[in-house]
Symmetry: C2
DNA sequence: CAGTGTTTTTTCGAGGCTCGAAAAAATAGG
DNA sequence: CCTATTTTTTCGAGCCTCGAAAAAACACTG
């Protein structure tokens, strides 16, 4: 349950905080870190001396910042790229990509591969993942011992502990404990993350101004996914990655969803649903296995040209998303939204109906003030998110080690 | 942003933890506290010596626990009832109640009053609240200086900081900063809490076995409200108390809701909605201002007797609640549910349709394993929740004081 | 009823951590 | 070259927690 703070936790946490301040960027000086953390200069000085001696941080070149002030110039601290390495593995429909990233966040190597994920056996899928990781680890340019963490990202549902994929639309296989498998194979700590959660993580690092403590990342792709950051923390379900926005119910008993149920938001707003409606196939039509991005772009172009069934299909998608967001906003209050994925490029077709629907809901009071941003390409976001996830793990668990995670400290509901 | 841990925070947090362990009950001995907190016996000994010297804790009578073991008997620690006092003020439809509670959680005085909240002016409403508090404070049996905190509970939406009521169904008035008003009036720290959140808090204290880290409390009353505990913490919106389960959209464009919008869960499951359907008044009929508990009990009795419109009304309520819960479970995964309020007594009429609906949703996979509990009386729960909220505030902020809440310490999304 | 064993609680010195103040370092301006 | 200014480091003081050992409080035994 609730657990005390031991004396050794103190240094550990403050170390993690200094590293975090440096990772957040801007080559902060010791003085700046002291200011933002509220700790004394002496403490920051001591901690950063340690971290530099251990090769985790480096002192930047002085005079780097340009403008010269009167006194002793600040010396910026940066992450030592050689301090460690992490790997990201992103598994999406028919596509596997891996990247090696240095401690400062720069990609140092990558590899991509086309697969037929929908028909592959369990063993083949696992085999491809371990094989691609092994190839990267065998790269002579890479010091294997420096690889401190592997983060996998996958479309689908993962468990809360980020160990296993529970279900995924990209494969009929279920319950694959990828994290455990990779750990056993390579002896490197690994996690299995949900794609949309990683999108949210990446957005937060990319644009901390806009995506700070509360925001929503929605993936508009074949399926509909969501990553949610609330009060500065990634929101997950109690047992799974959660946030299955696409499977909130839009119309009870409505259109057939890929998940086999009826009336989910996705059954109106997923690519296959927009496709189905645009082709006027009827709501009971079995969802198409895949609609290519090119097909979707053509569809959007047609919809923009004339007011036919294509435009109506996007309208219906907007309506479903709007009512879904409205229900979500009833629970969490409105927040900035990032629309990601190929259909985000067609957001102009979606937005009017979406806003109209939101206006009919509890979030509607501030309907106009809700801001949307679009980002058509989800894969780079997922990879960035995985990278940051892996790197912050190294920051916190390896470079600021201590008593193992004493979860729940100080938690108290009342 | 993220903030370091100062040396003085250490003792403060560990003090709070010892107090928390004692409040959680069972008259724990120092040894037991040391075990559950992971701190050393020496530390616990030192801290509890302080707390006893300060009159916050008391040593229980030895031999109290009955069964005698071999060595030196454990001496249980308890809360000193005289250490402080808190007040709870619960404002609900046409009803105002206040209670004075000692530090150990026992009610030492109370007072209740009928009001006509729906027609009262802003000033009158505020006046009644301050007046009833003043009367209790002027009670000669009460040492005013001991009153350390006032917690108000109100049906409706409050702000995240628990300072103000933003909107409430019990009054046409909006945006009343009750917490600030009471603080200014009496110089005692106060908070303004959402009723359903307090229900959840109370349930957690009442039955920590069942209501531990993840559960849902749903108020089935004139309106539909929700209190949500996720990962051990009370869930609130980004700006408001949030969790407006009753205003998730069940059927876009559907039945008229008390909030003026259409198709909300509440427009099918609130007392007025059940009433409207039972009387076959049509979904556009303006919601009745109030339906008495007695009327609802009669309705439920009729519904149990024969399969008429009354039974159908409860069925529709169950369906709306089920689909709503299904959407909620898509976001947070299934969790135990407590149904509270007068219509919880008619849960037998609601449950079949509710379970059937959930089975059609993403949460449906575990439809049968979702467990429901009922509690017809919400007011005692709300008061208990307010009491615990106020008491834990005293525990943490007054008896374990230190640097003022350095929020966000260590929060990191990636 | 005194001695022994057992368990809880307190005491005490050691080791760590952060802090404030002062010193040292590094630079611009005159 | 000297002074003002700002950053960074050094150093002693003050807490806090810890482990080990001592003290306390009881049950059991013969």
């Amino acid at each position: 349950m609730s657990v005390g703070i031991r004396h050794d936790d103190l240094r550990r946490r403050n170390r993690a905080m200094v590293i975090g301040a440096v990772r957040r960027g801007g080559q902060p000086s010791r003085t700046e870190i002291a200011a933002t953390t509220g700790l004394s200069h002496s403490t920051i000085s001591a901690i950063s001396a340690d971290l530099i001696a251990e090769g985790i941080l480096t002192e930047g070149k002085p005079n780097e910042a340009g403008l010269l002030k009167r006194g002793r110039p600040q010396v910026g601290l940066g992450l030592n790229p050689k301090a460690a390495t992490v790997m990201t593995v992103v598994l999406s429909l028919n596509f596997l990509s891996v990247a090696v990233i240095d401690y400062a966040g720069q990609v140092v190597a990558e590899e991509q591969r086309r697969l037929d994920t929908l028909t592959m056996s369990r063993e083949a899928l696992i085999g491809e993942c371990t094989a691609i990781v092994r190839r990267r680890l065998e790269d002579p340019d890479l010091d294997v011992r420096s690889v401190a963490r592997i983060a996998l990202g996958i479309q689908g549902i993962t468990d809360t502990k980020a160990r296993a994929m529970l279900w995924s639309p990209i494969t009929p296989q279920t319950d694959i404990a990828f994290a455990d498998i990779l750990e056993a194979e390579f002896g490197i700590p690994a996690t299995m993350e949900n794609d949309c959660n990683m999108m949210a993580v990446a957005l937060r690092w990319r644009d901390p101004e806009r995506y700070r403590d509360d925001f929503i990342a929605i993936l508009l792709s074949h399926g509909i996914g969501m990553g949610l950051v609330l009060k500065g923390e990634l929101f997950t379900g109690t047992h799974s990655s959660g946030g299955e926005f696409g499977h909130m119910i839009h119309r009870p008993g409505g259109a057939l969803c890929r998940c086999g149920r009826r009336g989910c938001v996705e059954a109106y707003a997923g690519n296959y649903a927009i496709w189905r409606n645009a082709r006027q196939l009827g709501e009971d039509t079995e969802p198409a296995a895949d609609v290519s991005d090119a097909q979707m772009r053509t569809l959007a172009a047609t919809a923009r040209e004339n007011d036919g069934p294509e435009r109506e299909a996007y309208r219906k998608a907007g309506e479903a998303l709007g009512y879904g967001l409205g229900s979500l906003f009833a629970l969490i209050d409105p927040a900035p939204v990032a629309m990601v994925g190929v259909s985000a490029a067609a957001f102009d077709l979606i937005e009017p109906a979406l806003r109209e629907a939101i206006a009919q809901t509890a979030g509607g009071q501030h309907s106009k003030s809700i801001s949307f941003d679009t980002e058509p390409n989800e894969l780079p976001l997922i990879r960035e998110g995985c990278a940051m996830r892996a790197l912050t793990f190294v920051d916190q668990e390896i470079f600021a080690p201590g008593v193992q995670a004493r979860a729940g400290a100080g938690k108290n509901v009342a």
